[in-house]
């Protein structure tokens, strides 16, 4: 995402990088910078299909795999360039053995600025649900 467009509205505190953010006195994300559900979902789809396509559930590998998926998704989502958004990624992986499972989430946030995206993957031996929450930092 180009962030040096001279015609776009630019804030005075432009050198904020990483987690050390200064107040910008902006109340919400600019029009091109809102957390886009469909965009993030595509990233999740790509990461999960790539990593899990032919994988069998193996107790010793699943722990590391769930951390790898979370980390890779985080890197790719940060690369999408959402400024001033805090990102939370939660990955749930389980074995498929004819049991029932239910994953729910609820949030207390600002409905206009914050959003989430999720994707689930299933094959014969494992299922994986990944949820990404993007919360705007005022």
């Amino acid at each position: 995402m180009a962030d040096k467009d001279p015609n776009a509205y630019q804030d005075v505190d432009e050198d904020d990088e990483g987690a050390d953010l200064q107040p910008t006195y902006q109340l919400g994300p600019l029009s091109g910078e809102k957390f886009m559900q469909h965009e993030v979902r595509e990233v999740l789809k790509e990461v999960m299909n790539g990593k899990l396509k032919d994988m069998q559930y193996d107790d010793s590998k699943v722990k590391q795999m769930s951390l790898d998926i979370s980390d890779e998704a985080k890197t790719k989502i940060r690369a999408l360039g959402y400024k001033r958004y805090k990102i939370i990624i939660q990955t749930v992986m389980g074995q498929v053995k004819d049991q029932g499972a239910y994953v729910t989430s609820r949030c207390l946030w600002d409905v206009q600025k914050d959003n989430y995206a999720s994707y689930w993957f299933k094959n014969d031996s494992l299922f994986c649900v990944c949820m990404v929450f993007g919360l705007y930092l005022e």
């Binding site: 769930s66 939660q90 029932g100 499972a101 609820r106 207390l108 930092l137």
Partner: protein, 111 residues
């Protein structure tokens, strides 16, 4: 000084809140595929309500995973990009029920 105390996420009180709500709803129950969506919504709603009652300047994300006990394995992992000084998360694992597992996680982000 009061500002400093308000800023931090409190792990102990939050875990206690989650534990109380999960136990209140799932103790003595048998896994039922028709009821599970009601239970998980209730747990999440009640935990969120209790957290909101604390009146702290935080945004919350609460997730709950309920799975039938079948010998199958389950793993949960999370990664976060946030302010490590003020934000935090905690998770409670409920396994004392004979027919199901539940894992409830709360993420709290300072405004």
């Amino acid at each position: 000084m009061a500002d400093e105390l308000e800023k931090k996420f409190e792990y102990d009180t939050t875990v206690q809140i989650i534990e109380d709500q999960v136990k209140a709803i799932l103790d003595q129950k048998v896994y039922d595929a028709k009821e599970v969506h009601v239970w998980s919504s209730e747990i999440v709603k009640r935990v969120l309500k209790q957290l909101h009652k604390q009146n702290k300047p935080f945004k919350y994300v609460v997730t709950c995973v309920i799975m039938q006990k079948n010998g199958a394995g389950l793993h949960t992992a999370s990664t976060c990009y946030w302010d490590t000084k003020a934000d935090g998360s905690c998770s409670y694992d409920y396994h004392s029920n004979k027919t199901m597992h539940a894992i409830c996680t709360v993420f709290a982000l300072h405004i």
